[in-house]
């Protein structure tokens, strides 16, 4: 094992810098050390002003998202010994930078506000009866810790200025749509406002999810298929019309 690691940390202070650059720190390596430990070492011993956002350090809150050697990852979950002796840590590129490794992710709350909220069926007998087999699909999506790595890696958000809500919010919509007692269909929203059509299911989001949610396979594609039901499939559309269950 290396005794030391060269940490190249992205530095940007809006008060004095025009553009950011990497600054190298040499950090001693301890057993089981993660990238966030190394960043903390810098903060505690070398430069207390190094901006980094973190909370739980247990991969449960999703605060410490960054791009480590180019790959969107959680700093608290990426072991230093898995990366060689030179590490680059940069902020998420898809979001406006605040300072150093910290980005402004507030756009996500704006999106969250737009997604039609949980709307239970009317006239349910209380307490509700729900079978365990109806819970498991939604459960996968509810594991999301909102680290926004999927938003960061998504090329639609990262490289194209489109009104696509992003993988996180496709997952959010799916978590509500698969709630057994939810009464509304979010296809209309996803298709007409959410920009679901911009997703070209290239699965980068799925590959970076620290919670191992099958974002594309289990959330986005099923939502796309629901959109097909309402907008592209004449037979299902007709069928739905006859049964009077169309959309919201």
């Amino acid at each position: 094992m290396n005794k030391e690691v060269k940490m190249n940390v992205y530095r940007f202070d809006p008060n004095k810098d025009k553009e950011g650059k990497f600054q190298e720190f040499t950090v001693p390596v301890k057993e089981g050390m993660v990238v966030l430990d190394a960043v903390h070492y810098i903060e505690n011993n070398m430069d207390p002003t190094l901006g980094v956002r973190w909370n739980c350090k247990a991969a449960r809150c999703g605060s410490c998202a960054a791009e480590i050697n180019g790959k969107p990852s959680l700093m608290c979950k990426t072991r230093v010994d898995s990366l060689g002796d030179k590490i680059h840590v940069a902020p998420m590129k898809a979001f406006p930078i605040v300072k150093d490794l910290v980005t402004d992710v507030s756009r996500n709350w704006e999106i969250a506000r737009k997604i039609p909220e949980f709307t239970p069926k009317k006239g349910l007998k209380e307490p509700w009866q729900i079978a365990e087999i109806d819970v498991s699909r939604s459960r996968e999506f509810r594991n999301c810790i909102e680290c926004f790595l999927c938003q960061d890696v998504c090329h639609v958000i990262r490289e194209h200025d489109k009104d696509y809500i992003g993988p996180r919010f496709m997952v959010k919509a799916a978590s509500l749509d698969t709630h057994p007692l939810d009464s509304i269909n979010r296809s209309k929203f996803l298709h007409e406002e959410g920009g679901a059509g911009y997703c070209n299911i290239t699965k980068c989001c799925q590959s970076v999810c620290p919670e191992h949610i099958a974002i594309t396979d289990n959330a986005i594609i099923p939502e796309k298929e629901s959109i097909v039901d309402s907008y592209y499939d004449p037979v299902t559309m007709l069928f739905k019309k006859i049964r009077g269950k169309h959309g919201q």
Binding site: A131, H155, N200, E225
Partner: protein, 240 residues
């Protein structure tokens, strides 16, 4: 030495797909070319009751099957990434040109991919023919003759079945993907069990899509070899 490395890295940035080839995509394209050449220049429809998979039940379905594959989520991912470079690779815009290239995802031209489920319906109708081919192959001589080629034909049918039944559209329309309440079904556990089983296959959809495609060509090549007179028409088991 240095300039060579520079040239290579420039090329890598310019055409990354050449350097990090996606085998599934290139195989698909190679097979497409192969199929066109083979089917129109040197057609082999049948050899002693062994029907070539391209001709089952008729060559006319090849475009439909092609379209089925083209609209499949697995192939979509591959050609969006590797032909259209959207994205070039996850989180890395090496050429720094993506923002300048127009992108409309599946909202305009590629919105036709939303019709995948209709091609799926065709695909489901076609599947029995492949099993029928197996039946024809073992009964060709009268009685029951199991040849090596029959096994290939059966395997081909099974792989195609796995690909079709692991389809995302199948999952949504038939396997219960659009169901919110499994418990409301007549047999809740069976309903959810089927969904879970299909989901398990679905996880490997990309693999099935690739293997089933390659296998068709293998079967075709084998039949061509037989037709060319190679002495490899092994009989494994027979009751006449």
């Amino acid at each position: 030495m240095d300039s060579e490395a520079n040239f290579l890295s420039t090329m890598k940035k310019a055409i990354p797909e050449l350097f990090e080839p996606n085998w599934r995509l290139w195989s698909f394209l190679a097979i497409l070319i192969f199929a066109i050449v083979a089917l129109f220049v040197f057609p082999v429809k049948e050899y002693k009751g062994l029907i070539d998979p391209f001709y089952s039940p008729t060559i006319l379905i090849v475009p439909v099957v092609g379209l089925f594959r083209l609209t499949c989520y697995a192939y979509r991912k591959d050609y969006y990434r590797n032909i259209f470079n959207h994205p070039q690779s996850c989180a890395a815009d090496e050429r720094r040109d993506s923002a300048n290239r127009g992108y409309s995802g599946e909202t305009t031209l590629f919105a036709f991919n939303n019709l995948h489920r209709y091609l799926l319906y065709f695909g489901i109708i076609l599947l029995p023919f492949f099993y029928y081919d197996f039946y024809v192959s073992v009964t060709y001589f009268g009685g029951f003759v199991l040849r090596f080629a029959s096994i290939l034909i059966l395997l081909n049918a099974i792989l195609l079945t796995l690909w079709v039944f692991s389809c995302h559209a199948f999952r949504h329309v038939f396997a219960g993907g659009n169901v919110k309440c499994y418990d409301c079904a007549l047999k809740p556990n069976a309903r959810k069990g089927f969904f879970n089983f299909q989901s398990m296959l679905n996880k490997r959809h990309e693999e099935w899509a690739f293997i089933s495609l390659v296998f068709i060509v293998l079967v075709d090549l084998y039949l061509r070899a037989l037709a060319a007179g190679w002495p490899i028409d092994f009989r494994i088991f027979q009751v006449i």
